[in-house]
């Protein structure tokens, strides 16, 4: 009988305004592979950050019992000291250092600060053998692929004498072959007695390797399934089974002719030139219609939208864009904007706002000619426009002269939306329009979307939150691995149907 290696009891973690985890329980037995699944934003990553001490003891409620003793990790060093190692989705390797240097970074074999490279490289070779990676320890990280980098991360974990290995979406950016190799490695570790926690939403992988599955939804533990009970249907139902209440404003769609049509759109990765990210997508959007694009992270939705918007992503872009039946040139952002296409980014801080400038300047940035004459800005007109949109989108701030960097996420999102509304587009592509904002602000964003649709705009909403898509769209495309794998009217759609399309689509990928 295996003993319990880890028990997390009644973990509750609150962020300002949001309860990310409430009374989550997780019990992991020694030597098993325990999968944790849930939708994006369900709280999986937060839970793992609590476990690894990223959120220090005291910032959450509940207890962590590891190998029979209650632990209070103050930081990631404390948990690593006990043999708990987490491998994040974004790899934390230094690209211009070698494999050996990365594995022993901060932990080098050294005497009086002088590194013993022979010892480091000998140990690295041994570790690489364990993870099945045939590379010279001196190879630079930047010269090996993502799959191999993942293995280096694991080798690094082994160097710390890991007892409990946590992998956060390890296969998200790996090819099918690399993914299989990684899963095999996990099974091999299991034979050696290392316990693993696997966070994933690829259900076929979970099915293949997991001994137990814990499903988390909305920051709560739904259930833990033993090996014999694991089935895709059961997991899907638990993952998404939530009721839809009045979280979405009512609207009566008035749908007209096709406004935007994209034909056979293909895009290659900007750096890995041989990797095709978008594989021949065809979509269309009608006047007054809200179209959703569903899919998991990494499905290529953002890449698709950005490549469409003035080739802001990718290389070797092919395909055709038609606006009201006429082919248009969208080869630069300004051309796309001129043709009436607007893209509201998923990452407002990096791509959407000038955080060190105020609301007024941000709102008019995409349409400066709209507030100027002969390239001279009319201050008062600009102020009037800014105040107008501040009122229309209900931006809460002391004035339009407040720095956007000091606004809450919801208000920042409204500023980005205002910017694009002022550019007066015909097609509005909204990428994760409600990510990271509170429920009240979400409702306001939905209201704005509904109003825009009733004004006759064609709207595309990309979202990882399926209830949101079901609540506000008229038609849903399902995307997976760079392809459209399903299309359904929102009225007929359900979270199960979408999830099925994704899961089934996964196998089809060549």
């Amino acid at each position: 009988m295996a003993s319990t290696i880890l028990e997390m009891r009644d973990i509750t973690k609150t962020f300002p305004g949001v309860k990310a985890l409430s009374n989550v329980n997780l019990s992991v037995e020694e030597g098993e592979i325990h999968a944790v699944v849930g939708e994006n934003g369900a709280g999986k990553s937060t839970l793992m950050k609590v476990l690894s001490g990223v959120y220090a003891s005291g910032t959450y409620d509940g207890a962590i019992v590891y190998r029979g003793e209650e632990c209070h990790f103050k930081g990631i060093h404390d948990s690593e000291h006990k043999g708990i190692v987490i491998i994040h989705q974004e790899l934390a390797l230094v690209p211009m250092l070698s494999i050996a240097e990365n594995i022993f970074l901060g932990n080098e074999h050294a005497r009086f600060g002088i590194i013993d490279w022979n010892a480091n490289e000998t140990r690295t070779s041994a570790l690489l053998k364990k993870v099945g990676l045939k590379e010279d320890p001196k190879t630079l990280i930047t010269n090996i692929g993502v799959g191999k980098q993942q293995l280096v991360e694991i080798a690094k974990a082994l160097s710390k004498e890991v007892k409990l290995l946590i992998l956060d979406e390890p296969t998200a950016s790996l090819s099918e072959k690399d993914s299989q190799a990684l899963l095999d490695l996990l099974l091999e570790f299991k034979r050696q007695g290392i316990t693993s926690i696997l966070i994933s939403h690829k259900l076929n992988e979970v099915n293949r390797v997991a001994d137990k599955v814990t499903i988390i939804r909305d920051g709560r533990t739904i259930e833990t399934l033993a090996k014999k009970d694991i089935s895709e249907d059961r997991i899907i139902t638990s993952m998404v089974g939530r009721s839809l209440d009045d979280r979405y404003p009512p609207r009566e769609p008035k749908i007209g002719e096709i406004v935007l049509q994209v034909k056979d759109w293909s895009v290659y990765h900007p750096i890995h030139a041989e990797r095709q990210v978008i594989k021949g997508i065809d979509i269309n959007v009608r006047k007054g219609e809200v179209v959703g694009i569903a899919g998991l992270m990494g499905a290529g939705r953002t890449e698709f939208a950005m490549s469409l918007f003035g080739r802001s992503y990718g290389r070797r872009i092919t395909g055709e864009v038609l606006l009201k039946g006429k082919p248009i040139d969208v080869s630069s952002v300004s051309k796309a904007v001129e043709h009436g296409i607007a893209y509201v980014t998923e990452d407002r801080k990096t791509y959407g706002l000038n955080l060190i400038d105020h609301i007024k300047h941000n709102i008019t940035l995409a349409n400066l000619p709209g507030v100027s004459r002969h390239a001279v800005i009319d201050d008062l007109r600009e102020l009037a426009v800014a105040n107008d949109y501040k009122a229309k989108t209900n931006i809460r701030s002391s004035s339009v002269y407040q720095m956007t960097g000091n606004l809450s996420g919801g208000n920042q999102q409204k500023v980005v939306l205002s910017k694009w509304l002022f550019a007066n587009p015909e097609v509005l592509i909204l990428d994760e329009p409600t990510r990271g904002i509170d429920v009240g602000a979400k409702y306001e964003i939905y209201t704005i979307i509904a109003r825009l649709a009733s004004e006759g705009k064609a709207i595309v909403v990309i979202s990882s939150e399926m209830p949101e898509l079901l609540g506000i769209t008229d038609r849903i495309y399902v995307m997976n691995e760079g392809r459209i794998v399903g299309e359904m009217p929102a009225a007929d759609a359900s979270q199960e149907k979408i999830m099925r399309a994704i899961v089934r689509g996964e196998g089809k990928a060549s």
Binding site: N354, L365, L380, N394, K419
Partner: protein, 430 residues
């Protein structure tokens, strides 16, 4: 959930009015940096006025000060845009030196016939400066080579060409008087001088009463008109803002600011008027400062430069052609470096291999003292100009005091560090 989703409708304007006093206070705090800078300049001026026993504000010295430092301020205008857009230009001193050498060769050595006319040469030199800016900007904008590296290369290249043009260590001159007027000339007195209290001379030829001061009346007129225009437009802009329910600055603050600035300007104008009038180079500088304030504050291109410096990716995704804009910023820098080079050559009356050597550091320091951020996106034209004057007054004042050049550098370095530390401290506190 319903309470959250149904916020009270409130117009933005009404809110502004309600929160008026608080906005005013915060405006005072945010503007403290700007006022603080002008106050610092005044304090430094007063300090040197005492330590130099009144020499600093002597009309002849003021003229010298302007003529010695105007090229720093002219180049600082371009550098401000470069730094605001998130870049740096280390080549400006070398480009200035090269252009000075080129201009001298064209006017004095090469047999160019009518093309050696100072005006023609100046125009050609400004165009070549723009070309140099374009050549450097091309690599920075379209090939994403860090500006530090490209312009470091430019710094070496153009200093080398400058020295080669002049044939090793020799200097080329003298330059024609018409050209030298750019730096050492004064505006003509079209109105005619006015003698204040005509001196009464006794039989022995000694003045017994009267100052004998003659005033350059055109200078006085320009000064008074400029100050009135400044006050008028300031007030007008304020009125329109008030009518639309937005005014951040308290009225008293506005009056004090306007009065202090006007008084300072009139005092300087008076001092110039008692000497030979306004230096031509000061007029050139004044026009350029006004132009750049307008471009940065009111024109779309100025706004786009700030947006690009604040967040280049967001700017690009807003339809701003960031590559072309970067190129234009460097072309502008090149033209102003060329103008700086012409001003240096005109002041010296000849081209020397070391012209403008190290001046890139003074120019960059002026911009940073003026409150620009090394990260880009932040900085004001007036700040850079005041920063330039702070550097200039310190150079001039310390020279008169007889401070060793070595120690002058130490003091300037400390002032630069102090200004930026003060700035960062202020930001963190706010």
């Amino acid at each position: 959930m319903t309470t959250e989703s149904a916020p009270a409708p409130k117009s933005g304007v009404a809110e502004d009015v309600q929160q008026g006093p608080r906005v005013a206070v915060s405006a005072l705090i945010t503007n403290l940096r700007e006022y603080g800078l002008i106050l610092a300049l005044i304090a430094i001026m007063v300090f040197f006025q005492f330590t130099t026993s009144g020499t600093l504000f002597k009309p002849v010295n003021l003229s010298n000060l302007v003529q010695q430092n105007s090229f720093i301020i002219v180049m600082a205008l371009g550098m401000l845009l470069v730094i605001v857009s998130g870049h740096i230009d280390l080549s400006v001193g070398s480009v200035a030196g090269f252009i000075g050498a080129l201009a001298a060769m064209m006017m004095v050595i090469w047999p160019l016939g009518p093309f050696s006319n100072p005006l023609v040469v100046s125009i050609i030199c400004l165009i070549i400066g723009g070309g140099i800016g374009a050549a450097q900007g091309y690599w920075i904008a379209y090939h994403r080579i860090p500006s530090f590296i490209v312009t470091l290369a430019g710094m070496l290249i153009f200093r080398g060409i400058c020295q080669a043009l002049l044939g090793g260590g020799s200097s080329v001159g003298p330059l024609p008087d018409g050209f030298k007027a750019l730096s050492s000339g004064f505006i003509p007195d079209v109105i005619g001088p006015l003698t204040l209290i005509p001196p009464t001379v006794n039989a022995a030829g000694k003045t017994i009463i009267g100052s004998g001061l003659t005033l350059h009346m055109t200078t006085i007129l320009i000064g008074v008109v400029a100050v009135l225009a400044y006050a008028y437009f300031g007030l007008k802009a304020r009125r329109t803002r008030e009518q639309h329910g937005y005014e951040a600055e308290p009225f008293t603050l506005f009056v004090v600011k306007t009065l202090v600035t006007s008084a300072l300007a009139l005092f300087l104008v008076y001092q110039f008027a008692t000497y030979k009038g306004l230096p031509i180079v000061l007029m050139v500088m004044g026009v350029l400062i006004a132009l750049f304030v307008f471009v940065t504050k009111r024109m779309t291109i100025g706004r786009r430069i700030y947006a690009m410096g604040g967040n280049a990716k967001a700017a690009q995704l807003s339809g701003i052609k960031t590559e072309r804009l970067t190129l234009m910023v460097f072309v502008n820098m090149g033209v102003l470096s060329a103008l700086g080079g012409l001003i240096i050559a005109a002041r010296l009356g000849q081209a020397v291999p070391a012209a403008g050597l190290g001046s890139e550091l003074d120019v960059i320091a002026a911009v940073f003292i003026g409150g620009a951020s090394a990260m880009g996106g932040v900085g004001q034209v007036i700040g850079a100009v005041v920063g330039g004057f702070i550097m200039g007054v310190m150079n001039n004042g310390m020279s008169i005091m007889g401070v060793n050049v070595d120690w002058q550098q130490v003091v300037k370095g400390l002032v630069l560090l102090g200004a930026v530390v003060f700035d960062v401290y202020n930001k963190n506190k706010g």
